[in-house]
């Protein structure tokens, strides 16, 4: 498969790993921002190929994981209303709200549908004029253009029964929040390739300059990730702090200008709460004044939401990169993909789910002896 198999070549990967071994003289902590990258690193065992001192810290870039609990509860309340068709990307369905998830709402009679594109939700609205169609528009800059386009089209087509529940979050403010946190250990970043395919990477040179850290635009296949890590390590060893592009087959400096123009028309920057992290100033998008009529939060006045996070769950520490998933006491015990306590155990991009699914809390010896325990947990 073109552009895929050649980036999964084991021999080239091992050669790149050897190069990283040869240039690394000291320990370095590098954060991959995006949950898709976390998933790929763990799935392919990229971290196992690195020198002992090179540690990958898993960042907060899983949109499912950082969507605030309050918004999930709002989504559940809207989805349960009669007359509503509630559309969502698939992996939001199992995210636990305070009391239930969208699957349970669906089971209780709510009309919850998985769509692959927000534009499908617009079509649903056009075809069901007597129903309110709500799209759950979560995600980073990657999914924002399609979500923006859905609102833009709905307005142009005069659809009065379409709205979006928006929870868009932005990468650059999150990176700055991590770098400003008192206990920060991150020394370099792999930037999320698909976010940059939309936004370009013109936003990052000031961050590299201000904090003196290297940032490398990185893709998602094994060779992409190894190349991103290699470039970050070379910069760190040389004491450089630049923005580099290791994903040039997809990303340009300017990014997708047409998408950016649409985004600035449909959205405006707002403060945003991140689940497990808290409010980060100017870290999200909400619908701009011109499109406010399509905001589901305004259309459906949902009140009386009292959120309650699990007392055991340390998803926030995981999302900040402060602990590895297996260091949480509930990991694999009270909290499994079957009974997730926090969103990081739900989404396939969540760090906890990646660690659990790929058995990464087991050492090689444990793999042999504790196998039955693992499968027992997976089947509880």
């Amino acid at each position: 498969m073109k552009y895929l198999t050649e980036f999964r070549n084991g021999e080239i990967a091992r050669a790149m790993a050897r190069e990283i071994h040869s240039v690394a003289t000291r320990p370095w902590k590098i954060m991959e921002v995006c949950g898709g990258q976390t998933h790929s690193i763990i799935r392919n065992g990229i971290d196992q190929m690195l020198p002992v001192g090179i540690e990958m810290i898993h960042g907060p870039g899983c949109p499912v994981c950082v969507t605030p609990l309050e918004l999930i509860d709002k989504a559940l309340a809207i989805a349960a209303q009669p007359g509503v068709i509630f559309c969502s990307f698939g992996d939001m369905l199992r995210v636990p709200g305070t009391e239930q998830d969208l699957f349970q709402v669906k089971g209780a009679g709510g009309d919850v549908r998985v769509v692959y594109s927000p534009l499908d939700a617009v079509e649903l609205a056009a075809n069901n004029p007597d129903r309110e169609v709500v799209f759950f528009g979560v995600g980073f800059e990657t999914t924002a253009p399609a979500n923006a386009m859905s609102v833009h089209l709905a307005k142009r087509r005069g659809l009065k029964n379409f709205s979006v529940l928006v929870s868009h979050v932005l990468v650059p403010p999150a990176i700055e929040a991590i770098l400003q946190s008192p206990g920060n250990q991150v020394q370099g970043f792999l930037l999320a390739g698909h976010v940059c395919s939309v936004m370009g990477y013109w936003e990052y040179p000031p961050i590299a300059e201000k904090y003196g850290i290297p940032l490398v635009v990185t893709g998602f296949e094994p060779l992409d990730l190894l190349d991103g890590i290699r470039r970050a390590v070379i910069q760190l060893e040389a004491g450089r702090h630049e923005v580099e592009n290791a994903y040039s087959r997809v990303v340009t400096f300017e990014g997708n200008r047409a998408a950016q123009k649409l985004l600035s028309e449909v959205f405006e920057v707002s403060d945003r709460a991140w689940r497990g992290i808290g409010v980060i100033p100017k870290s999200g998008w909400k619908l701009s004044e011109a499109y406010r009529a399509f905001d589901a939060e305004e259309r459906f006045e949902i009140s009386g939401i009292h959120t309650e996070e699990s007392a055991l769950c340390r998803a926030g520490d995981v999302l900040r990169g402060a602990i590895k998933p297996a260091e949480c006491a509930a990991f694999g015990k009270e909290c499994t993909p079957r009974h997730p306590l926090g969103a990081t155990m739900v989404s396939s991009e969540g760090a906890c789910a990646a660690y659990f699914n790929y058995g990464r809390y087991l050492s090689a010896e444990d793999l042999a002896s504790a196998g039955s325990a693992l499968t027992g947990a997976a089947h509880e």
Binding site: G45, M49, F89, D91, G371, L374
Partner: protein
């Protein structure tokens, strides 16, 4: 039917229904009422399609002559949507599904029952098309449909057509296969490409368009399995058809039942390019995607090459591959060796795979 099976797009414009329609082109409540309408359905549709001596008695139970020995029995219900999909339809699936469950248990499938739950308003022409392909599938698999039932539910209470089949097979003499019989050292073989059925269904259901159409692999495996057992009966320790939950669930089940570890080499998994592309697009893993015409074999290592050659010589096994082996380590677990040379656990899925956001 042939053009239907090839394109997957139901076209009933030239269909001539064998039923005298009595003014009803669709299923009405009376078709399930046990009266004249129901009898007409049996006499003009089911009986001509499935005709055999055991069925013709139309008694409360089919009376079957079987020789002494062990029988295998299995049942499965089919609720697939859409009812017609590229590479097959619910009727073929209902026959082949139960045939395959018997075949992987080491039995020679012989008799099936077929029960229909039909929704009021379901077009008779579609029912006739489903029944005809069931008859063809049964003939291909060498099984007889010997008893059946029809119920009708009110409009809105069903999804057009549900089918349950149960089957009886005769267990081959001296056969000792089962999910608990895999041994350390066994080779793991799969009879062809994985994920075809699930992605065919998903691409139709979700209106996803790919450059070339993905077709279901729906097929009866008893013929192919019979040839394998004729050649290497003693060497085959476990067989399974990896349907729902895909290859990963099947291998996990066998690892747990046999209390062994299973290691597969990811690079050796046969996956069609279109299926791989569709999975990449949706964020799915083909090891979890359903198959309806594939079998997994756990065979003694020394017989692996022979079994592989036998599989590849069969029309349904041309793309068979040796994908891994059984180990005494990590008991109950499935581990994949990635192309990078690292190892990862492949757990059993919790529920359905969910397409990712981005």
């Amino acid at each position: 039917m042939n053009e239907l099976l090839q394109t997957g797009v139901p076209d009933f414009s030239n269909w001539s229904c064998p039923l005298p329609l009595v003014g009803y082109p669709t299923i009405v409540m009376g078709h399930g009422g046990g009266g004249k309408l129901g009898n007409e359905l049996v006499e003009h549709l089911f009986l001509p399609a499935f005709r055999n001596p055991a069925l013709e008695n139309l008694g409360d139970a089919a009376l079957l002559d079987v020789q002494a020995g062990k029988i295998a029995m299995s049942t499965d219900s089919f609720v697939v949507q859409p009812l017609f999909f590229p590479g097959g339809n619910i009727g073929e699936l209902a026959v082949n599904g139960t045939v395959n469950d018997l075949a992987v248990s080491g039995a020679v499938p012989r008799f099936l029952s077929a029960s229909f739950i039909l929704e009021e308003g379901f077009p008779l022409a579609q029912l006739a098309a489903i029944v005809e392909s069931m008859a063809k599938a049964a003939a291909t698999a060498g099984v007889k449909i010997v008893t059946g039932d029809t119920k009708v539910v009110e409009r809105g209470h069903g999804d057009g057509c549900y089918i349950n089949t149960a089957g009886i097979g005769l267990v081959r003499e001296g056969i000792q296969v089962g999910p608990h019989r895999a041994h350390a050292g066994d080779a793991v073989l799969v009879s062809g490409t994985i994920g075809d059925h699930g992605m065919a269904i998903m691409s139709v259901r979700e209106g996803l368009e790919f450059e070339s159409q993905i077709r279901s692999d729906c097929a009866a495996l008893n013929g192919m399995i019979g040839v394998v057992l004729n050649v290497a009966r003693g060497a085959v320790h476990a067989m399974r058809d990896p349907t729902r939950g895909g290859l990963a669930s099947t291998l996990n089940e066998i690892a747990q039942s046999s209390q062994v570890g299973v290691v597969i080499d990811e690079a050796s998994l046969p996956v069609r390019t279109q299926v791989q592309s569709a999975c990449e697009l949706l964020g799915l893993d083909p090891v979890y995607v359903a198959n309806e015409g594939k079998a997994v074999f756990f065979v003694a290592a020394e017989a692996a090459d022979v079994v592989l050659a036998v599989l590849r010589a069969h029309p349904l096994g041309r793309e068979a591959a040796r994908i891994g082996q059984v180990t005494a380590e990590h008991k109950g677990m499935l581990v994949a060796r990635t192309a990078m040379g690292s190892n990862r656990v492949i757990p059993t899925q919790i529920g359905e795979q969910l397409p990712r956001i981005c």
